[in-house]
């Protein structure tokens, strides 16, 4: 299962400046583990000490916010696009 992961600016120090990298895994959890293998240090930025997604990180698999799907167990089908984005919001 090969997926494309878009890397936010603040994590590009781990990917040698690359904005998009390829990773392997059938679930988001596996994809993050694979990212960590090739870009050491990235998992600790995205996951907290308990291994959960950090509160201010949003992850999308093919345009779907994983918090509305199955979180870290969300399936990542072959060819899927994954985006890691810092949480921001408008409104008051």
């Amino acid at each position: 299962m090969s997926v494309k992961v878009r890397i936010p600016t603040i994590l590009r120090t781990y990917t040698g400046g690359e904005a998009e990298v390829v990773a392997e895994g059938a679930t988001l959890s596996e994809v993050i583990a694979d990212l960590e293998k090739n870009h050491q240090g990235i998992a600790a930025r995205v996951l907290d000490d308990a291994g959960k997604l950090r509160r201010f990180v949003n992850v999308y698999v093919n345009d779907d916010d994983v918090r509305f799907e199955q979180g870290l167990e969300t399936p990542t089908p072959d060819g899927a696009g994954i985006s890691i984005i810092p949480a921001v919001a408008g409104g008051c």
């Binding site: 936010p8 950090r54 949480a87 919001a89 008051c92």
Partner: protein, 427 residues
């Protein structure tokens, strides 16, 4: 890439601002166009070296300042000469003593409406954009941008024209016609994105990381730490307009929760500076039932906020995954306040109640705060014997759709006196 700082000399001149600080882990960074902590993704906020010394002379300096938010420049991340630069100069809007509404709601301790419809583009957004414009100038940006549900797009377009920036703003493609016109009329580029607000926001976050977005200041993304500080001015103005006193209770709308957290920050600063007497105040948050992730968490006793898919007429508050939600819960609980919600019918009723009693036509977010105030009094959570301030963050002309179905002529008659007499209207 930002560099973590160990000393306090800022590289850019933004008045008393000295660094950016992560709200989650406390890591500090140089002032710059960054918004998320490199360590933990937590939101960054401006850290200050605020004026010390005699509160009386600072109070006099503020009172002698212009009748807009720049009177508080010593407390904001802006250059000292900010009032001389081209800017929309928002703020110092009316604090209306709402005696008629107070009678209807049974409030005896004094009820006030902070009416931010009086800003240049008719919503509180002008405050936050004005601060972001100065940050954009300091960082050398040439284009102003934002993701918006309508109000912000207009505020950015207008501010960009005045301040001499190019602008390109992004909105969901299916916004109400009125909001599209208000966003487009100032010129600059207006781009409809095929998706909802969360899709627009996500698109802008990705654009920032791409060479296409280089040189662009997104007021609510990479300039967000500065932008958010604009909401502190609501706290400053309310206290100054009450005669340099804290209100006992304040009711604030919640979308992302940013405004509520910044008002609390502003009140705490005034206390620390000795500009107001230190006494307890209660902060109440207001949401629409169709997008109530924070009030749901508050009422359930949770300290995390579970995202919702929004479905409410209060579109300016329709953020299902509020970034500052957990901080709002902390503040409401710390101050002894609460977070409550009202349904769309109650929002419309409250818009009409405020219009009927005080002659103030509020947008749906104002209907939410007035409706929630009524509910909090009925539930015994808000004390009617204490001084209470309710925020109206925008003009009702922006959300005509909400009240149009139930607002219209009392009668339609031929132009003659007999017809008028027959209609039975007594004025």
């Amino acid at each position: 890439m930002a560099v973590q700082v160990t000393e306090t000399t800022p590289a850019v001149a933004l008045g008393p601002a000295v660094a950016l600080s992560c709200r989650e882990c406390g890591t500090r960074f140089d002032l710059g166009p960054i918004f998320a902590c490199q360590e933990c993704f937590g939101p960054l906020e401006v850290a200050y070296d605020l004026p010390s010394g005699d509160p009386e002379s600072l109070r006099k300096q503020i009172e002698a300042g212009p009748n807009n938010i720049w009177r508080y420049a010593p407390l904001l991340p802006v250059p000292a000469d900010v009032a001389d630069k081209p800017n929309l100069n928002p703020g110092f809007t009316k604090l209306v003593k709402a005696d008629n509404l107070a009678r209807e709601l049974g409030v005896t301790g004094g009820l006030y409406v902070k009416d931010d419809s009086g800003n240049p583009t008719h919503s509180f957004k002008d405050r936050v954009v004005a601060i972001a414009v100065e940050a954009a100038r300091a960082f050398g940006f040439t284009t102003l941008s934002c993701s918006s549900t309508g109000n912000l797009a207009g505020a950015v377009g207008a501010a960009a024209r005045r301040a001499g920036f190019k602008s390109c703003v992004f909105i969901p493609h299916d916004l109400e016609a009125g909001k599209v016109v208000m966003a487009a009329v100032y010129g600059g580029d207006l781009v409809g994105i095929e998706g909802n607000y969360d899709d627009v926001n996500r698109f802008c976050s990705e654009l920032i990381g791409d060479p296409l977005g280089e040189g662009w200041g997104f007021v609510n993304v990479n300039l967000r730490p500065y932008y958010g500080e604009g909401s502190k001015t609501l706290a400053y103005e309310i206290c100054e307009q009450l005669g340099w006193q804290l209100p006992d209770q304040i009711v604030i709308p919640i979308a992302s929760g940013s405004q509520l957290t910044k008002i609390d920050k502003g009140l705490k600063e005034l206390i620390a500076l000795g500009l107001v007497e230190d006494k307890p105040y209660k902060i109440f948050g207001a949401q629409a039932e169709g997008c109530s992730p924070v009030s749901t968490a508050f009422k359930a006793g949770h300290d995390v906020v579970r995202p919702q898919k929004p479905n409410t007429i209060a579109k300016s508050l329709a953020i299902g995954n509020p970034a500052d939600g957990p901080y709002v819960l902390d503040i409401a609980r710390r101050t002894g306040g609460a977070v409550e919600d009202v349904n769309d019918e109650q929002v419309v009723d409250a818009i009409k109640l405020l219009a009927r009693t005080e002659g103030i036509f509020a947008e749906t977010a104002g209907g939410v705060t007035v409706g929630v105030t009524k509910k909090l009094i009925e539930d015994g959570l808000l004390d009617p014997t204490l001084t209470t301030v309710v925020l109206n963050t925008g003009d009702g002309l922006k959300t005509l759709d909400a009240v149009a179905p139930t607002s219209g002529p009392t009668a339609t008659i031929r132009p003659d006196l007999d017809a008028f007499r027959a209609a039975g209207l007594t004025g």
